[in-house]
């Protein structure tokens, strides 16, 4: 209905910068475009790939931050894991491990490592590094958010320099997917990992100017060296500025953009949209289930009813996102049929549930929704929920926080009522979602861990019989949808904007990308 006018308008309005300058004409502008062209050409010749990202990373330690920006920057380039999840097949390709075998009982996995791999400081990569990395993530004192991925591993040992043997406490069908997000670090240089990280990846760390840029440079000693000389990520919080950068050539690629940017890019000549499968990410509200009144599941269910997911995906994501209340996408075998449509938008029902929990116009529910800056769609999500609840008489405020302050409020302290959030669905392994920081029974943003939940997550992850595993995961989804510790809103792909040349970027489903094939 409104769509045709919108795209029509966009088509007329978005001439690209070159056309605009041409239109203005005049010799002054000709010189300007001339020099513009020069700088872009110079950049391209030097082979620097300049990428715009919305927010900064928080640490350089690949085992410590689950942040999206971090996955797509340092973790994707400076470090490598044992295996790489192929975004097409969703199965594991060799990375630092050349091949692997598991024993008949599925409890012993032997990984044969690639030979000739060296760390960026020149020292050889060995099995001891893998053992060290796994035990470091598992170490409670280190506090890695990736620890839940490795709970099944009871022992990691180096059989020789090039062979690692992992012993499991119980079987896990998704072990390779788990290992794909565990970056291997170098024990000898662990002291400087937060200032000068040393990895085995195709790029070596050059510098990080917090709040400004992150730079990595080609590592010539890599077995499959990249084609670009360097990648520089510029932190540009404003989405319009990122788009403008792409149009004037100061950025060659923009990572993780939203529907509105895709719509604008589609109407500009020369900008290519690079995207993943449509269910790699989900957006959600996390609810602090330890804080009254959100410890009452009726309140949480009421909030789920108070959001129009279909309208949100249509207008804020321009249809690029798919509404759902279940974080598990229908494409996964474990999906609970028909669950995506549960909790349809119904303000009366929300009001009734809140009334049951003791909240009404006379005794309104007072709460604050946090949202991190730089994520416009998440902010819209917060504003829509706020408005719907205020309309039925409650008192909701929305607070936008800098990402580091936001992390402090929701993870470190935690001190929040509700927050917007997004997370990878982890389509390569059904266990991955329930071990993510959003839902892991050991520690999750919603502080939610009802009796029996941890057992069920463990049992489901360990179940080898596919049919039984599906049943267990469906039981988990029923629990999740009944308890509503997080309100899932939609599934969406990851979007990057770039040029024909950057289309060869491989965006991994777990956020680990492959930049090696890009040639400018």
């Amino acid at each position: 209905m409104t769509k045709p006018t919108k795209t029509g308008l966009a088509g007329a309005a978005v001439m690209n910068r070159a056309q605009f300058l041409k239109l203005l004409g005049g010799s002054a502008f000709a010189t300007m475009t001339g020099s513009f062209g020069l700088t872009t050409a110079a950049l391209a010749e030097g082979g620097d790939l300049v990428v715009g990202i919305s927010s900064d990373i928080k640490t350089l330690d690949p085992q410590m931050s689950p942040l999206d920006v971090f996955r797509h920057t340092i973790r994707s380039t400076v470090f490598e894991a044992l295996v790489f999840i192929n975004p097409e097949t969703l199965s594991a390709d060799p990375m630092l491990a050349d091949s692997w075998q598991k024993s008949d009982d599925g409890l012993t996995w032997t990984f044969n490592l690639k030979s000739g791999v060296t760390w960026h400081n020149g020292s050889p990569f060995t099995a001891a590094d893998v053992v060290y990395s796994i035990t470091r993530v598992q170490d409670a004192k280190v506090g890695s958010p990736f620890a839940p991925q490795l709970t099944a591993i009871s022992k990691a040992e180096a059989k020789d320099d090039k062979t690692v043997v992992l012993t499991l406490a119980h079987t896990v069908p998704g072990l390779l997917a788990n290992l794909a997000v565990i970056q291997i670090v170098n024990e000898a240089s662990i002291g400087t990992i937060t200032t000068a990280p040393v990895g085995t990846g195709p790029f070596k760390f050059a510098n990080w100017a917090p709040g400004d840029r992150i730079r990595v440079e080609k590592y010539d000693g890599h077995r499959d060296p990249p084609k670009v000389a360097a990648i520089e990520w510029r932190i540009v919080p404003d989405s319009q500025a990122r788009l403008a950068g792409l149009q004037d050539g100061s950025l060659q690629m923009v990572a993780l953009v939203e529907g509105k940017d895709v719509i604008q890019a589609q109407s500009s000549a020369g900008i290519e949209v690079i995207q993943t499968k449509p269910y790699v990410l989900y957006e959600n509200f996390n609810i602090n289930t330890k804080r009254a009144p959100f410890d009452d599941k009726r309140v949480r269910q009421a909030l789920a009813f108070a959001f129009d997911r279909a309208a949100y995906t249509k207008s804020i994501w321009f249809g690029f996102a798919r509404p759902t209340i279940n974080p598990v996408p229908p494409e996964m075998a474990t999906y609970l049929p028909g669950s995506a449509e549960q909790y349809p938008f119904d303000l009366d029902k929300a009001a009734a549930l809140l009334a049951e929990a003791g909240f009404s116009k006379d005794k309104p529910l007072t709460m604050e929704i946090l949202t991190p800056t730089g994520f416009d769609s998440l902010k819209s999500m917060a504003l829509v929920l706020q408005d719907n609840l205020n309309r039925i008489g409650h008192k909701v405020t929305v607070r936008e926080l800098e990402i580091t302050v936001w992390i402090d409020r929701i993870l470190t302290k935690p001190d929040y009522d509700l927050t917007t959030n997004n997370y990878n669905t982890g389509p390569e392994d059904p266990a991955s979602m329930f071990n993510s920081p959003n839902l892991a029974p050991t520690a999750n943003v919603s502080l939610w861990n009802p009796p029996g939940y941890a057992d069920l997550v463990g049992k489901a992850a360990a179940e080898i019989d596919p049919k039984k595993q599906v049943e267990l995961y469906q039981e988990l989804q029923k629990l999740l949808l009944e308890e509503m510790p997080q309100i899932t809103i939609d599934h969406l792909p990851l979007f990057f904007l770039g040029s024909e040349a950057t289309k060869s970027l491989v965006i991994g489903p777990s956020g680990i990308d492959d930049y090696k094939k890009i040639a400018l």
């Binding site: 819209s380 504003l383 607070r399």
Partner: protein, 283 residues
């Protein structure tokens, strides 16, 4: 001349003068006042209700200025923003005006060491970077219009103080003041009843300029998310949101931008007009 008389107290005729000399200023300021005072009643729709089904509508019969990304009526939100802008104006002019006038009046009227000390304080205040102070205050307290505007109000103190001090020094030796002194009036009473009424004109001029500045600062701070908090609209936050859709729905940013410009233009023209008026009546 020995005739003892206070200078003409200026109010009378100012409005007529402005209407005659700068009708544009009068019109723009009047529209702003109407929007600010009657906005909630004039607004055709709710200024906070979202309606995703009607997002990003171009201007049409139902939504005269279109809708924003959450389907909220732009015209209604502009009217709401005018109210916020007027509040910003008032807070800044009141904080800056009251403190500044007091400082200036006492410094200029009493002179000597008092003047020396107060003048230095004013100079220190003048050195404060407005935005930074505003950001610090907002960070210490919490983001809100009042907090942000008090910071901007403090920054306006020197403007008022300098004018008040200048007028007070000028008047201190005038005959009618000396006469008052001769009649046995105390210094403070003289300042309040004789000097203060004579600086109203220049202070109003400063108020119109600093008030216009206040509206700009409010927009700037709300643009950064430090002013008015959602769901309430403000020119700054509307502009921030509109910026995301510059290519899809440019009318969003244009309407907000034009509205703010018109208000600032009106207030500045008003200030110029008043300035002319008082210059003329002084002579």
């Amino acid at each position: 001349m020995t005739e003892i008389s206070a200078p003409a107290r200026p109010q009378r005729g100012a409005v007529a003068y402005i209407l005659r000399r700068s009708p544009v200023a009068a019109l723009l300021v009047a529209l702003f006042l109407i929007a600010a005072l009657l906005g909630p009643w004039l607004a055709p729709h709710s200024m906070t209700d979202t309606n995703l089904g009607q997002a990003l509508q171009p201007p049409n019969a139902t939504y005269w200025l279109g809708t924003d990304a959450l389907g909220r009526d732009v015209l209604s939100r502009l009217l709401g923003s005018a109210g916020i802008a007027a509040q910003a104006f008032l807070i800044v002019v009141l904080t800056g005006g009251v403190l500044g006038t007091l400082f200036g009046l006492v410094a200029g009227g009493i002179g000597g060491l008092t003047d020396l000390v107060l003048s230095r304080v004013i100079e220190i205040l003048q050195g404060f970077p407005t935005v930074l102070v505003a950001i610090v205050i907002v960070a210490l307290l919490s983001p809100s219009l009042t907090n942000a505007m008090i910071a901007v109000g403090l920054a306006a103190v020197p403007d008022f103080a300098r004018v008040a001090r200048g007028v007070a020094i000028q008047l201190r030796e005038r005959e009618f003041i000396q006469a008052a002194r001769g009649l046995g009036m105390g210094e403070m009473r003289i300042l309040a009843s004789e000097v203060l009424p004579n600086m109203v004109g220049p202070l109003i001029i400063i108020a119109s300029f600093d008030g216009a500045q206040a509206i700009m600062w409010e927009a700037a701070l709300s643009f950064l998310g430090l002013g008015v908090q959602p769901p309430y609209p403000s020119f700054g936050s509307m502009l921030r949101e509109a910026q995301n859709f510059l290519a899809i729905q440019p009318s969003l940013a244009i309407t907000v931008g034009l509205t703010v410009s018109a208000i600032i233009l009106g207030l500045n023209l008003l200030g110029d007009g008043l300035s002319d008026y008082y210059d003329r009546s002084d002579k």
